[in-house]
């Protein structure tokens, strides 16, 4: 089974909770879920929605058209009505029927223009009610439910609370249509409102009364609700439900993080809150065995410099940011490169350039992240392609940083950051703190001989660091011989890394090894490509997905070996240039002309991969996608 639905409304008006409730209930039902959250750079009032997918098999992407649409307001109707499949169901409060679709002040001017055109072209009137009628004529069931009355009369809530319970009402209706039992819903509500008993009870009452009433209306209108959700999905062990920000936070915590610095920025900051909220690590006895500190810095420059300072003092230190913040960190990262400091920068890409689309998806900082900073220095750039990977990679990144003594950039995207999904609990990863200085005698921080010098922490020995070129002790040197040796010492780490890193951390083949065609992706786009495989191969293709993970140093041999087996190679990523394609061309000397690109700020969806693949097969080279609102 594969259920896709959208629930939307004004930002800050309960739409986020609606999504959380749905996702929680579906996962408690034993399903795998994957849910995208789309919102404006705004706190209250602009349109926002969740696109939720539930399946009995793991999913890593969303898919259009959707089966259901739940609308908390007229703008949601106006924005998404065209995304519902024939035979689908639309649910909204009966009270918005009279709302005028063409007079929604929060709506983007251009979107409103398109709406007017589309209403006109389809001969639809101006109100939500008229749109409903048109939808019904298209074979879509519209259920305009008098939620307000139900909540007030049957759940007994009074006016201000009615408005706030609208999201629960709407979600309940949607989930019931899909077949989620009321008990599961109530259980999910109890989890969500764990710390607010009263709210939990009220919402449970709302869910129940909406459930009964909704049933009644369906029967009355002779609507057969699809109820595709089976009540008996088997869970294989316990699952965790996380956003990407949470996944990385958990990974960092398991990986021995002891200092996290940050400056607030979307979509990175939530990671730091999760760490803050779980800052007491407990062992099996419930005892605290560690408590990483989170410091809000005055800006990103301070954030990276503080993290480096922490690392020098011997604690595992990291920071997290997005494009604008990363741009500011570049100088500090160079210092870490020159001083061989193990520090992890978690980099969540969002729409650029500049402030760009601060809350929207993008994968456009790949080339920047591998060559950011003046001068040359070794770094690792590792890109995760799923939430499970993001968690485990967070641990690996910290190990890499200390093993090779260099800055590690953990490259993620808004898709991963904000999407929620079910994952298996992680296995506890080993800690590798790299070579430590145990000798006595004069300590040379940058002892040559090996690419990596044994490390002592500040406080253990007397030592020097400088951003200038330096000798083995860490004092400034402009001597050309010293320069050359130290430069080479730093740069030669790149080969060491490539030779020691497991293949699975460089690039991963998803699908059958005897592929004919290959879709190359990275980051969250991997999920869409992987999810598309079954469908594509069912059409007789023999496609697999190659997900590239290590971006610097680049595993050109491995990638080349995969590419050389493929007849047709298609790169799919969320940027304009095709940055991974460029990187492969650069490193492997292979032309990659088939590119599927999306830079609207929305993720590439499973259906887009399928249709693009077919278009490429029909001869198109560069396909730019535009799906999603």
């Amino acid at each position: 089974m594969d259920l896709n639905f959208i629930v939307g409304g004004p930002q800050g008006g309960g739409v986020e909770t609606a999504g959380l409730l749905a996702v929680r209930a579906l996962s408690m039902q034993g399903l795998e879920v994957f849910a995208d959250r789309e919102y404006h750079s705004n706190i209250k009032g602009k349109h926002s929605y969740s696109h939720i997918r539930a399946s009995d098999r793991p999913v890593g992407s969303i898919k259009y058209p959707v089966d259901f649409l739940g609308a908390l307001d007229a703008e949601t109707m106006a924005t998404h009505f065209h995304e519902v499949r024939k035979g689908g169901i639309v649910v909204h409060d009966a009270a918005i029927k009279k709302r005028v679709l063409t007079k929604i002040p929060s709506m983007d001017v251009r979107r409103a223009e398109r709406l007017r055109e589309s209403l006109k072209a389809n001969g639809i009137g101006n109100s939500v009610g008229e749109l409903d009628d048109w939808l019904e004529r298209q074979g879509i069931t519209v259920m305009a439910v008098p939620f307000g009355e139900i909540i007030s009369e049957r759940a007994g809530l009074s006016p201000p609370m009615i408005e706030r319970a609208m999201n629960t009402a709407l979600t309940s209706a949607l989930l019931l249509s899909a077949g989620v039992p009321i008990n599961t819903l109530v259980a999910a509500i109890n989890v969500l409102f764990r710390d607010k008993r009263e709210a939990a009870q009220l919402n449970a009452a709302v869910a129940k009364s909406v459930g009964e009433e909704f049933e009644r209306i369906a029967v009355a209108r002779e609507i057969r609700l699809p109820r595709i959700i089976n009540t008996n999905y088997k869970k294989e062990g316990r699952k965790m439900l996380v956003a990407g920000n949470d996944a990385v936070a958990i990974g960092k915590l398991l990986g021995g993080l002891r200092l996290q610095t940050y400056y607030p920025i979307t979509p990175a900051a939530d990671e730091s809150f999760t760490i803050e909220q779980h800052s007491e690590l407990r062992n099996g006895l419930g005892e605290t065995i560690g408590s990483p500190l989170v410091i809000q810095a005055e800006d990103e420059i301070a954030a990276i410099c503080m993290a480096i300072g922490g690392a020098l003092a011997g604690v595992r230190a990291a920071t997290c940011t997005s494009g604008p913040g990363f741009s500011l960190m570049v100088e500090g990262i160079g210092w870490a490169g020159n001083n061989e400091v193990p520090v992890v920068v978690t980099y969540y890409q969002r729409g650029g350039p500049s402030t760009g689309l601060p809350t929207r998806h993008s994968q456009s900082d790949l080339l920047f992240s591998i060559s950011s900073g003046h001068g040359e220095f070794a770094r690792i750039v590792l890109a995760s392609g799923s939430h499970f990977e993001a968690l485990n990679d967070a641990i690996k990144c910290m190990n890499f940083a200390e093993r090779y003594q260099l800055p590690v950039i953990h490259l993620l995207d808004k898709g991963i950051a904000n999407c929620m999904t079910t994952i298996a609990p992680p296995f506890l990863n080993e800690i590798d703190r790299g070579d430590r200085f145990r000798g006595d005698g004069i300590y040379k921080r940058f002892l040559r001989g090996e690419a990596v010098s044994p490390r002592a922490y500040l406080g253990e020995e007397v030592m020097w660091y400088t951003g200038d070129e330096h000798d083995e002790i860490g004092h400034i040197s402009e001597d050309p011989f010293v320069r050359r040796e130290m430069y080479e010492k730093r740069m030669e780490k790149r080969e060491k890394i490539l030779s020691e890193t497991k293949e699975e951390d460089k690039a991963v083949l998803i699908g059958e090894p005897d592929y004919k065609d290959l879709i190359i992706t990275w980051g969250i786009t991997t999920g869409a490509a992987a999810d598309a495989l079954t469908e594509l191969n069912s059409f007789g293709h023999r496609v697999s997905v190659l997900q590239v993970r290590m971006m610097e140093p680049f595993p050109n041999e491995l990638v080349e070996s995969y590419l050389s087996e493929a007849e047709e190679v298609i790169c799919a990523e969320a940027n304009y240039l095709g940055q991974l394609a460029e990187l492969i061309e650069w490193n492997c000397g292979i032309r990659l002309e088939k590119r599927v690109l999306k830079y609207t700020g929305r993720m590439i969806t499973q259906d887009e991969i399928v249709s693009s693949f077919n278009r490429v097969k029909n001869g198109e080279r560069r396909i730019t996608l535009g799906g999603g609102e």
């Binding site: 408690m28 316990r238 699952k239 965790m240 996380v242 990986g255 021995g256 002891r258 200092l259 610095t261 779980h278 800052s279 007491e280 690590l281 407990r282 062992n283 099996g284 419930g286 065995i289 560690g290 408590s291 990483p292 500190l293 810095a297 005055e298 800006d299 420059i301 301070a302 954030a303 410099c305 993290a307 480096i308 300072g309 922490g310 690392a311 020098l312 003092a313 011997g314 604690v315 100088e331 500090g332 210092w335 609990p425 506890l428 990863n429 080993e430 800690i431 590798d432 703190r433 500040l458 406080g459 253990e460 020995e461 007397v462 020097w464 660091y465 951003g467 200038d468 004092h475 400034i476």
Partner: protein, 303 residues
């Protein structure tokens, strides 16, 4: 002096110009470290970029020579991760009061146990004498083509407005006075600024011995300590008045032990921190995973 401080030299040749005030700061610092009985491994000088920024390479304690303007966040990271370390910052007036001003102010808000030593020479020494933020409006040093068109910053007043709990000013060539201020500042448990008037004979021909003579005086009968709110306002006003005077006072202007240092503030929200600083929470088990219980730690995420 010079005898007792010999051991504090790294042997790296200090490449400051002859007559540079940095030599005075260097000497006084070594004296202070010596008299304070500092443990070398536990003391870290964090510096910015500039002539001043080179100082850690000459002093035989750990040194972190960072980026232009960024010594304070580096120092904050080090100190916070390992509060057992004694951390001081050295930087130029351009470094700390220009490009690094945002951090200087932010540090006042946190009150970490770090002393910031501002090498005030009125110029950007290492880049050949451009006006620094402490150069007075209209001044034209020999390194400038035009008189300076920016007004000067007074680090004491900025420090006060930012919440620093230790404020002092000294002169690079009064080694004894400077050493005293350094000792006091290093011992103070909170954020401190020590402005050192540092002659730069190469570029700044205004701040000479003669200028010092005419434009500074040593504070006398001045108690820098603050005990309560009322006194805090009194002191604040008195310092404003002192700093508005024609001559600059030398000495310790403020020492306010009432405000909690950053470490304590952290411990107030991170209980574990008080007894287990990040540096003490060893994660040293090579090849083993940390014994974290997933469900006990991340309960909320399980379904």
């Amino acid at each position: 002096m010079s005898e007792t401080s010999t051991d504090w030299n790294t042997g790296v040749w200090p490449d400051w110009c002859p007559g540079c005030g940095n030599f005075g700061i260097f000497t006084a610092l070594k004296g202070a470290l010596s008299e304070l009985g500092i443990d070398r491994k536990k003391f870290v000088i964090v510096s910015g970029i500039g002539c001043s920024g080179k100082i850690p390479h000459f002093v035989n304690v750990s040194g972190v020579h960072t980026l232009h303007g960024r010594a304070i966040p580096f120092a904050t990271g080090i100190k916070t991760a390992n509060p057992e370390l004694k951390v001081i910052v050295h930087g130029g007036d351009g470094d700390l009061l220009g490009i690094g001003m945002g951090h200087l102010v932010a540090m006042g808000r946190r009150n970490p146990d770090i002393l910031v030593v501002v090498h005030n020479n009125g110029v950007y020494g290492l880049t050949k004498g451009q006006a620094s933020p402490t150069l007075q409006l209209g001044n034209k040093t020999k390194s400038l083509a035009f008189p300076n068109i920016n007004s000067a910053i007074n680090p004491i007043l900025i420090g006060m407005a930012s919440g620093y709990t230790f404020l002092a000013r000294s002169y690079a060539y009064n080694i004894e006075h400077l050493k005293g201020c350094l000792k006091q500042g290093i011992s103070h448990n909170g954020a401190g600024i020590l402005e050192v008037i540092q002659p730069c004979p190469t570029w700044n021909n205004i701040v000479t011995m003669d200028w010092i003579e005419k434009n500074t005086y040593y504070l006398e009968n001045w108690d820098p300590n603050v005990k309560d709110d009322e006194e805090a306002l009194e002191k604040a006003n008195a310092i404003v008045a002192l700093e508005h005077g024609k001559k600059k006072p030398l000495g310790i202007l403020l020492e306010d032990g009432r405000k909690e240092p950053f470490g304590k503030r952290i411990a107030s929200v991170y209980k574990y921190y008080a007894t287990n600083t990040p540096a003490m929470q060893r994660v040293d088990d090579r090849g083993a995973a940390l014994p974290v219980d997933l469900e006990k730690t991340f309960e909320r995420f399980f379904v």
